[in-house]
Symmetry: C2
Subunit: 335 residues, 2 copies
């Protein structure tokens, strides 16, 4: 194969087949993928199912704590997990710019394979398109995931109830700040590392050992503040958050303060919000804190009747302010 991606690799012809065999199948082998049919056959999955899709356009492709490949696996696996499901299969569609370095592509595919393995999912069907130079920025990846929903009923942003506790699985803002700092070539004294990681192991444990999960949601684009607003709107309730309970690492706090950014609006790729009856909060926190994905878990607030769709932040000084949804783009191409 050439050391750069050629237009021919997206042709569907012989060159495409070589790319599939020598690169994709080499790393992402699974019984489904190796059949090379138009679609993958799934024999061992029964409903109810969760299905989620995401296209990843992150820039730069490689960042501290991950790359577009691992992120594309974690992101979709986590979205499937948020519906109370066990993620099982992924499709993976590559959109490549002519001229992309093959060694970069291989590094990304290898990272996807490792991430899929860590999450317990298989890539079973795929697609590759190559567009001419200038028609795309190096590589975009779409992953679509499916899995079996094991929570009954399935958690939903619209299922929060008055009296529910709001938990968060860890520190806020790490992914957004890590990507931004790396993009700008900033060096902080302590490296800030993306939190990109799978969450499905912990969410499944919470469903099985605690139950009654009303909401799971990962605060990715728009951060914690925007995601809580979505939930408040969907459930038509008010959410009260206590500022000094929100875990933010010292490094992220310092970095955000230096750059004038708010960690509550920064993207996370390895954290989730869990909303459930207050009486189960301690049990859920215990489960979360004994798992590496939830070691910094905290109870940060509660849900109440009141102004529908509103999120209120109680500050450490006793004041309170509305925590609004992000209007536009704080930081493009973060995922």
């Amino acid at each position: 194969m050439s050391h750069k991606v050629l237009l021919d690799y997206g042709s569907g012809g012989r060159a495409s087949h070589r790319l599939i065999r020598d690169l994709f199948l080499k790393h992402l082998h699974s019984p489904g993928l190796s059949r090379l049919d138009d679609a993958a056959l799934i024999q061992d999955l029964s409903g109810p199912l969760a299905m989620s899709t995401d296209t990843f356009t992150i820039y730069p492709l490689f960042f501290p704590g991950g790359d577009i490949g691992s992120l594309a696996v974690h992101g979709t696996v986590n979205d499937v997990a948020m519906l109370g499901a066990v993620p099982k299969y992924l499709s993976c569609a590559f959109l490549l710019e002519e001229g992309l370095e093959m060694h970069e592509l291989e590094k990304i595919v290898r990272s996807m394979a490792l991430a899929a393995n860590n999450c317990g999912v298989q890539v079973i069907t795929g697609d590759t398109k190559v567009v001419p130079r200038g028609a795309a920025d190096r590589i975009f990846i779409n992953t679509t995931g499916i899995g079996r929903v094991i929570a009954d009923p399935a958690p939903s942003g619209s299922s929060a109830e008055p009296g529910d506790a709001v938990l968060i699985s860890g520190t806020m803002g790490d992914h957004g700040l890590a990507v931004l700092a790396h993009r700008q070539g900033m060096d902080f004294e302590t490296a800030i590392i993306s939190d990109s990681r799978p969450l499905n192991d912990l969410t499944v444990q919470l469903i099985r050992e605690v139950g009654q999960i009303h909401v799971f949601r990962d605060p990715t684009r728009g951060g914690l503040a925007t995601t809580l607003n979505e939930i408040a709107l969907q459930s038509a309730l008010e959410i009260i958050i206590l500022e000094d309970r929100i875990p933010v690492s010292q490094e992220v706090q310092a970095g955000c303060s230096f750059l004038g950014l708010d960690p509550l609006y920064m993207a996370n790729e390895g954290k989730f919000i869990c909303i459930l009856p207050e009486i189960l909060a301690d049990k859920a926190l215990k489960v979360m804190r004994s798992h590496t994905a939830g070691k910094d878990a905290a109870l940060i607030g509660h849900v109440q009747e009141g102004h529908r769709g509103r999120v209120v932040l109680r500050t450490s000084l006793g004041g309170q302010r509305l925590l609004d949804m992000l209007e536009g783009e704080q930081l493009p191409r973060i995922c």
Copy 2:
């Protein structure tokens, strides 16, 4: 909303929500999509399942007989159908370039909605990313589809058997030539129109009324010649094709001859190959010809032991030549 796509529309914040509500939900309404959760919940689908993904990068976005929106629905629906399945749900991920005209996006989304309706599928989950000007060429769309496999066993490129008949559902080369001609601004006397259309209604009918389908495959990128080569390789058998049996419209024949192109290597988006026991060929042809998707169906050859992975074309003059797989790109961005 602005009359052009802004970076803010991909932020996950308020601007994204407006785009989802005022554009995507307006046209693509489905119970799953309106829940606005991280993943869609599917209650009414049991296995075995077929899953397929495709990213569409076609240029130009609008062409005689379709557009990127309808193509993105038909393409994935057809790939799911080729596994002997009833396509049911689609995910849809938009990758937009900042500055894309909103009226174009709306036209595309409306076309997707219409196509999904015609195919009997629902778009149940989605994603929107916006990248800065120059980082993508206007719009790319990924669709991933799932459905229930009703053929037992599921057809596969590896299931052709010696003695099987090779049928094709209609004329070859229409999509590829239509896109190429439109791209180059060529005017033929008779307009050449893409054959982009759903095939699932006819494939389901063939499974139910004829049965024993060994292979379904749609000859898209690389055309009939490349797809037959894939099947010959997967099944480790030889395929013999009779040139004068292959339906090609007069317009496509004239256009291809004028441009020096071979219709057997041109992409199709509304045709399929059907391979099944010779004894069932007449029955299958009858079913195909009484359906609009198969009115020009023809028996074009057979499968035999012999040189594994080889496709031989018997010409009208009695000669024969190897029909090789396309090496590289005959025409980029055809789907």
